[in-house]
């Protein structure tokens, strides 16, 4: 809406203000509402020889097409309280107040072989078992229908027909990724209009986002593409109430001690506080991306089938680590002797070792056998 050009037929058909004035705007370089946002009524009155009163009126009329629906939080709570996708890890469900919530952009990071694709498949399986549709965008060619079938089926019955609820797309570069996302958005818009909301997919998985970006773009272009992608993903999440899960890779970075806020006890590889140049594993795609995601999860490798799920950034829950296993029929939580009580209490000193900071998560990679 905000990008529609002032001189397009759609806009002129709205007949908000004099079309001649719109053409003057266009000639001066103000092509759409985004460009107009930078001007105050005083500036407009100088530039286009209008009275200030006129300029204010014009601004109000033009911006009224973007009028935002306000809601109060009580109504929001009623609307969104039942829209969760429960995972098979009970502690995660407990701390996230029911499970992974729809309408959010969730990031899952981990080093290679840590189990990101398995987590995505298990979430797709949960979605299938609820009888709802999902979309799986595969960029690393790692989607496996067999694993999905294993996670859906019980030992008694096979539920192959549920596989039809999953739509898969295989993508190789960022252009086709944006194309498929625009296509999905158009289809969802149509479904919304035809009121077939219960047929709509509730889950969108992109496994992974780092791969197409690394392959096809360099430098500045990558930031732009990432911005476009984030915009699109957030729009899909909020407007169509999708749970958008994106997997990310890890890279090695050189640490300068000035940038991190952590103290010595957590730096497993360094010795001295003053040494500047050591390498650490960090989440790919940069800091601006870290602000865009709503929840950040990470998987760390603990040894053969054991993993740790780390909740990094989430407004609802503090940083917890949850150990789990990857088995044939899905993910299963490991019930160790835990000091954490099930009732929620303020964090005490003995729980602090498990608390982690959101912007620096040390993700342990697989140790290669000699």
């Amino acid at each position: 809406m905000s990008f529609i050009s002032f001189t397009s037929p759609y806009f002129t058909s709205l007949n908000l203000i004099d079309n001649h004035l719109l053409e003057r705007f266009e000639r001066a370089g103000i092509k759409n509402l985004i460009d107009l946002s930078a001007y105050t009524s005083l500036e407009l009155s100088f530039k286009f020889r209008l009275s200030i009163f006129n300029a204010e009126e014009i601004l109000e009329k033009l911006f009224s097409i973007l009028s935002i629906q306000s809601k109060n939080v009580y109504d929001m709570l009623i609307e969104t309280s039942s829209l969760y996708i429960p995972t098979t890890l009970p502690t995660l469900n407990h701390y996230l107040n029911g499970g992974l919530r729809r309408g959010l952009l969730i990031e899952l990071c981990g080093s290679w072989g840590s189990g990101k694709t398995q987590f995505c498949l298990h979430l797709t399986a949960q979605c299938c078992l609820m009888g709802l549709r999902s979309i799986y965008i595969d960029t690393e060619h790692t989607f496996s229908s067999d694993r999905l079938l294993n996670m859906i089926s019980d030992f008694n019955s096979k539920q192959e027909h549920l596989l039809e609820l999953v739509r898969t797309e295989t993508i190789f570069d960022s252009d086709s990724l944006m194309n498929i996302l625009t296509q999905i958005e158009n289809e969802l818009e149509d479904e919304f209009k035809n009121n077939t909301i219960d047929q709509c997919p509730i889950l969108l998985i992109i496994d992974s986002i780092a791969a197409p970006l690394r392959m096809s773009t360099i430098g500045y272009n990558r930031d732009n593409t990432l911005l476009l992608f984030t915009d699109c993903a957030k729009r899909l999440a909020t407007r169509y109430n999708l749970l958008v899960l994106v997997t990310n890779q890890v890279t090695t970075k050189r640490r300068s001690n000035v940038l991190t806020e952590k103290s010595d006890e957590h730096l497993s590889l360094t010795t001295n506080k003053n040494i500047g140049n050591d390498f650490y594993m960090s989440v790919a795609l940069g800091k601006a991306w870290s602000y865009s995601v709503n929840i950040r999860l990470a998987i760390s490798y603990q040894g053969d089938t054991r993993r740790q799920l780390i909740v990094g950034k989430s407004i609802e829950s503090p940083g917890y680590t949850i150990p789990f296993r990857i088995l044939t029929n899905g993910l299963e939580e490991i019930e160790e002797n835990r000091n954490i009580n099930t009732e929620k209490k303020p964090l005490k000193k003995n729980l602090i070792p498990q608390l982690i900071q959101a912007d620096e998560m040390h993700l342990i990679g697989k140790q290669l056998r000699p």
Partner: protein, 291 residues
């Protein structure tokens, strides 16, 4: 046209009742001489996951509680969300915790209607880009009537839509920032409400020494526009709130924690070393001190 304006002496300003909104952490309130000030712009910056959105949600509750605001006149809230990080259930949890606290103090029973009312008093707007944000602010001028009694406007965050502008150099971004902040300043002083703007942190490189440090985003120009700049971060496994800029209070810092009930103080079970308390944090190397 005569514009008469009554001038005030400094004594008038001192005696006028300045209202503050409590953050529910006594240490932070003491550091800020009462809390978040009404009528001016407060900036909240910090790295991802440092607690900015949580603090904003906590303020939504405290402005509606009788003891959460110094003048005891409660008000409603407008929450403008550009990142989608607002979670209604978190607000509900904090509301129930605050009501519980007062129930224990006053020995009254909890009114579930009052929790409903607490939630209904927070109006939520979701804006995706700058144009929608400005349209929203224009709309606000009309809906902020005296009956509505808005005492707090939260913009979470300003950095996200500005940084998402694809084809714009820093001059264009500066124009957008100025436009939005001026509108908010007008709303704050005309309607006597507090405005909290959430900002991001970026990494900067100091070219002379080739050192990198973290600084609030949106540039130096934005740095001048807020009255109070509060930075939230992690220090030694604890959450810290630090005052970066204020004309009224010193540049102090203090620790707090975020529990299921919201923002609270940490129980001081052990004393801290003086050296940790007073040392300047590594990333706040102000450019001025290097000149």
């Amino acid at each position: 046209m005569a514009l008469t304006r009554k001038s005030r002496t400094a004594m008038d300003v001192l005696k006028s009742n300045i209202e503050y909104i409590s953050t529910y952490s006594k240490k932070i309130d003491d550091m800020l001489n009462g809390g978040i000030r009404i009528g001016v712009i407060t900036e909240l910056c910090g790295n991802p996951g440092s607690g900015k959105s949580n603090l904003c949600t906590q303020l939504c509750i405290s402005v509606q509680m009788k003891y959460g605001i110094t003048s005891n006149e409660t008000g409603t809230v407008i929450y403008i969300d550009t990142e989608g990080s607002f979670v209604p259930i978190r607000l509900q949890n904090m509301a129930m915790a605050a009501e519980n606290h007062y129930k224990n103090e006053n020995k009254n029973s909890i009114n579930t209607n009052s929790i409903e009312q607490l939630l209904k008093n927070v109006t939520y707007f979701r804006c995706i880009n700058v144009a929608e944000l400005i349209a929203c602010l224009i709309q606000l001028k009309q809906i902020m009537t005296p009956e509505r009694n808005v005492k707090l406007i939260i913009l979470d965050s300003l950095a996200h839509p500005i940084r998402s502008i694809i084809d714009g150099d820093h001059l264009t971004r500066h124009k957008y920032i100025v436009r939005i902040v001026t509108m908010l300043q007008k709303l704050a002083s005309e309607n006597n409400c507090a405005v909290v703007i959430v900002n991001h942190m970026i990494a900067k490189v100091e070219s002379q020494k080739n050192e990198a440090y973290c600084a609030p985003a949106l540039g130096d120009a934005f740095g001048h526009m807020s009255q109070l700049r509060l930075q939230l971060s992690w220090k030694m496994n604890k959450r810290e709130a630090r005052v970066l800029k204020s004309p009224h209070i010193a540049e102090l810092s203090t620790f707090f924690q975020i529990t299921d009930d919201g923002i609270r103080d940490i129980d001081e079970t052990e004393s801290m070393d003086d050296s940790d308390y007073n040392s300047a944090s590594q990333e706040n190397i102000h450019a001025i001190s290097n000149m």
